[in-house]
């Protein structure tokens, strides 16, 4: 129904503005209707990184786009928690200081949602309690190996039958 949709839209928009500010350390992120007068209208995204003008998200840089997309993802999750979320190398385009803000946001959200992060970045690995290594000791065949648990050693979870 329309009322439910508007409720979702407004709540997610608030969350989007909040997570955008947290990820960029300031600035404004917002969802707008492409056509205010049409109830079935599509949704546009506008972003204003700190110190810049408000612009269409397509003019942003590679790293700014990734951060804005993450802010929207987090906003949707805060409205409808997802049981888990798998992010495959989303930290690749980010510089050092944005990786730190990204990992901080993931830690905050990890109460609600279980994150599985595929990454090459050491800083991202540091916030993970569990680390799964994938190797191809036998060429062409993947195996899961060594698992690290922060709080005390437990039985390594990866078992190949």
């Amino acid at each position: 129904s329309r009322r439910k949709f508007m409720e979702a839209f407004n709540a997610i928009n608030r969350f989007f503005a909040e997570s955008f500010r947290a990820l960029f350390g300031g600035g404004v992120g917002e969802m707008r209707f492409s056509d205010e007068s049409d109830p079935e209208s599509g949704i546009d995204l506008v972003a204003q990184p700190p110190g810049k003008r408000l612009q269409n998200v397509l003019l942003l840089s590679g790293g700014e786009k990734a951060l804005t997309a993450l802010a929207l993802l987090i906003a949707v999750f805060r409205f409808t928690p997802s049981p888990f979320c798998i992010l495959d190398e989303v930290d690749a385009p980010l510089d050092e200081s944005n990786v730190v803000r990204f990992t901080r946001m993931i830690q905050e959200m990890s109460e609600q949602t279980q994150f599985i992060l595929i990454t090459h970045n050491k800083r991202t690995m540091e916030i993970c309690r569990t680390l799964y290594g994938v190797t191809m000791e036998e060429p062409g065949v993947s195996k899961l190996v060594s698992v690290r648990f922060e709080a005390g050693e437990r039985e390594p979870a990866a078992v190949t039958a």
């Binding site: 979702a8 492409s34 495959d88 991202t124 569990t130 993947s142 899961l144």
Partner: protein, 205 residues
């Protein structure tokens, strides 16, 4: 709902049975280029019902079955199972769906479209909230044979793709959700059409 375990057998480069056990905390998957990390994420999209071979980076669906190496023959089947555990709080209409599954439903292969009417009755029959106890599990399995035949199972019983899709509706794991972001696609969330963005909000509503 919480993710408890993912199990692969013959799926892409995971020729041998492999289990990834999750304890609810944030986990990292690491390893050199080409070792199979993204294949794990593809396995989860697949078991949740992904129908497009392209999204799974193949040309046809049989590309997900282990195709052999210099020393190993290709396998005849790919199988992935995912086990989810009921958390204390489950929100949205996924909760009712879960209730139905853990309750009385006996999926059978002869299910016909008339099934839907039956299913409606069953929801009424399921006794109230007491049937759901935190810790109860659902295990979804998907198989694909080289012959092209595919199977879906719910807690070990054969079922249809529709049942899996119904199950995950509203839990944030549907096809429109952001639960799995493939490699290199984080920017796509921004460049999708305005009408697609609307669909994301509608799914969440």
């Amino acid at each position: 709902l919480k993710l408890k375990e993912i199990e692969l057998l013959g799926f892409k480069s995971f020729a041998d049975r492999t289990r990834l056990i999750c304890d609810g905390s944030t986990a990292a998957i690491v390893g050199p280029n080409g070792c199979g990390k993204s294949n794990l994420s593809d396995a989860v999209s697949w078991v949740l019902g992904e129908q497009s071979a392209r999204i799974l980076r193949g040309e046809r669906m049989s590309d997900v079955i282990f195709s052999g190496t210099g020393t190993r023959p290709p396998t005849g089947m790919a199988e992935v199972s995912i086990t989810l555990v009921e958390g204390e709080e489950t929100t949205g209409h996924g909760a009712e769906e879960l209730e139905r599954v853990l309750g009385v439903r006996e999926p059978s292969e002869q299910d016909q479209p008339q099934q839907n009417i039956e299913a409606e009755n069953q929801v009424e029959k399921a006794s109230p909230k007491t049937r759901r106890f935190p810790g109860s599990e659902i295990k979804v399995t998907r198989r694909l044979f080289r012959s092209g035949e595919s199977e879906y199972l719910l807690n070990g019983e054969l079922c249809r793709l529709r049942d899996i899709q119904d199950l995950f509706m509203g839990t944030g794991l549907g096809p429109e959700s952001y639960a799995i972001i493939e490699q290199g696609r984080i920017g796509q969330i921004l460049s999708s059409k305005p009408s697609d963005r609307r669909a994301i909000i509608e799914e969440a509503a």
